[in-house]
């Protein structure tokens, strides 16, 4: 980096009065002897003047007193209830997207588990309530079998004939026996 480049880098801060006295003296001495840097200084000064002029011209018309009076009035005035609710709703419904993740997952899982009520036997319901459950059974001395068939989700109570036989037609008893 040449001496001129170093000086031009420091020139802005020099014009703003931000350099130390020794740095300021060095820049000033260089600008006095270097035509290029003197030209750069003139350009920077004219840019600074133009910006200052614009800012001053625009800032002047702003009326701060009525502005602050209105702010004060709004702070002191009581808001209606519906504005409070709408404010609350805005805050809740405009939360960061990540914050939605957990409740959405929980509620979707709840919804999936409740699908069984709407669509019994759906593949996501886990088949919790698909089977009939036998709480008690008394076959009055007969043999009885309880079968649960997974594919069709069927509960079967099967009564076997007793020793005396109940076959009304007297046919081969093997026909009356279950063949699960």
């Amino acid at each position: 980096m040449t001496n001129c480049e170093n000086m031009r880098e420091s020139m802005g801060r020099w014009l703003d009065g931000e350099l130390s006295p020794s740095e300021s003296a060095a820049v000033q001495a260089h600008v006095a002897t270097c035509a290029g840097c003197a030209e750069a200084r003139r350009q920077l000064e004219s840019l600074q003047r133009a910006l200052t002029g614009v800012l001053v011209a625009d800032a002047a018309p702003i009326e701060f007193i009525p502005f602050w009076r209105e702010v004060q009035r709004r702070i002191n005035s009581k808001r209606p209830w519906y504005e409070d609710i709408s404010q609350w709703a805005r805050e809740v419904f405009t939360a960061p997207r990540v914050a939605w993740g957990v409740p959405v997952v929980i509620v979707v899982l709840l919804a999936v588990f409740s699908l069984d009520s709407y669509f019994p036997g759906n593949p996501f319901g886990g088949g919790r309530n698909s089977f009939a459950s036998v709480e008690s059974i008394d076959a009055h001395g007969r043999s009885v079998a309880l079968l649960r068939e997974n594919e069709s989700k069927t509960t079967v109570i099967w009564l076997y004939q007793n020793e005396e036989g109940e076959n009304e037609t007297g046919e081969d008893r093997s026909q009356a026996g279950p063949t699960f």
Binding site: V104, L110, V134, I137, V156, I157, W158, T169, P178, F180
Partner: protein, 155 residues
Amino acid sequence: MKLAKIAPRLALLFSLSLVAQQDFTGAAEKNPQSVQVTIRSILAENKNDEFDAKLKGMEQQLKSLKYRSYRSLKDDTKSVPWQGTQSFDIPGGRILTVAPQEFQDNRVSLKVRLTQGDTPVVDTTVKIPNKGNFILGGPPHEGGVLVLSISAAAQ
């Protein structure tokens, strides 16, 4: 981009509405007035491979019993009040008595008694998923076996 922004909110609202509906239907289920009980009497045999077209909806359930033929003998549907009792005539001079006990978790609890004449054949208490069924089978009938499909729907 807009859709991606509102998608999580839509998903949340949809899920909330599902849960709310679940609550409402759950509340409705708590006090059903009666139970519609349907008894299907079926004759299962090994004589031929005939499958009664009326039993089409039960094909998968019946096939698990491994008989060769199934014939529908009788269908009977009655509305039974809670804690009430209703009797169904079953082929072969049998009577099936059904008494709904309670309705909980979308399941109907039924007390069922099968008798032949004055002789009790079986007494059982079964909890059936609402609008579901169970099979009671085994009593011999006309050279085959009698298979009863007992279904219940809370109303």
